[in-house]
Amino acid sequence: MAANVNGPVAHHFNNMGQQLATVRMGMWMFMATEILFFGGAFCAYAVYRLMYPKDFEAGSAALNVGIASVNTFLLLFSSLTITLAIRAAYTSRTKALGRYLCLTTLLGVAFLGLKAREYHMDYEEGLIPNVSTLSPEAKEKHAARMAALAAEGDRLEAEAKTKSGSEAAELRERGIELKARAAQPPVAFNENVKVVLSHNKAFKGRPLDEQTYDVGTPSAANAHDYDPFKVQLFFMFYYSMTGLHVLHMIIGVGLLTWQYVLTRRGFFDHNARFVYIEVMSLYWHFVDMVWMFLMPLLYLTGPHTAGEAIEMFKKSVGMTGGH
């Protein structure tokens, strides 16, 4: 059904059809640039995922998949509401238009709110590479491990005294190595992420640096073992890509709010202006599309269980008794 569109035609266009087609074309071109913008980041991610699959799985296992899942549905629903908004504008139902725009904006704000909570929790858990300090639990665990290393180093050195020749030299070297290792300062992020991963029951990997150096850990290779330094790389992608997505959403929410204000002022009473809602929806759908790819690549790479996801979400919004 093609309605009668009425509205002012800009001075440099010949007719409404030309104007509408040009506006749509402009937005689609902007979408193409956005595909390439995020595409570049996705390609970089793909490169490192290819090179470090196990470490990326580990990184993913440390993320809050509960919030991410809820956010997915919020965003999908908002795509529906903004599509309905176009139809309302087209058929001159400005009240419905206002309501749909409002709903879309609220869903977007909810997404952003949960994301902010997620970032805050990452901060509390000390998962910002090079910036975070040791969390209390990590500090404890690290201290205990280092003490064990130092003790083992002492023991080896003592044992070396009871042996002779090359065997003694070997034992003594190993003892010195362990004590030097115990004296090294911790890398905050690495220790923090080890703690977070230990809380994920579905994740079976162990940190490689503990494999090589530590005492008492089984020597059998585990296919999920990870290098915490490369998990930092994963987290840089996590922050960059979700950060860029958040930035786009903030802009989108801002534009939606502005369109809502315009609706209240009667700007869309000329129903030819539905094209601006349409163009906004293209942007919003694109942001949704990015999330569709981003979410599985970042959050569903590593092992999680549904139960754990629900627990994590509850904890994030404070629905459980306490931390």
């Binding site: 087209y90 569709m292 569903l300 790479t301």
Partner: protein, 113 residues
Amino acid sequence: MDHDHHPKTDVHTEEAVVHDVAAPGPTFVAFFFIVTLAALALFVGFSDGLGPWKLTANLAIACVQAGILAFYLMDLRQADKVTWLIAASGVFWTSLFFLFTLTDYLTRYLGVL
């Protein structure tokens, strides 16, 4: 200007001044499929069975979701050829970037053959 009465015909008398804006029916159906696929993706993500195929499955689901979104909710189905060209160009050029860059990392360590 006083000469504006002159014929304003242009080569772009648009074929349809406005095409049909998304009717509610297909919109809801598309939305339903997208949400179902999202749930499926979560199911696959939380399960252990697929092993190395989990990535492929998740990406495939995302591609189908994106396709439904573009086709139905972004109105690509009714759009003109230029719009299709623009959307396809975005995807095509991104895939060029992927192709060459990934080839570097896949072949770099192969040694002299």
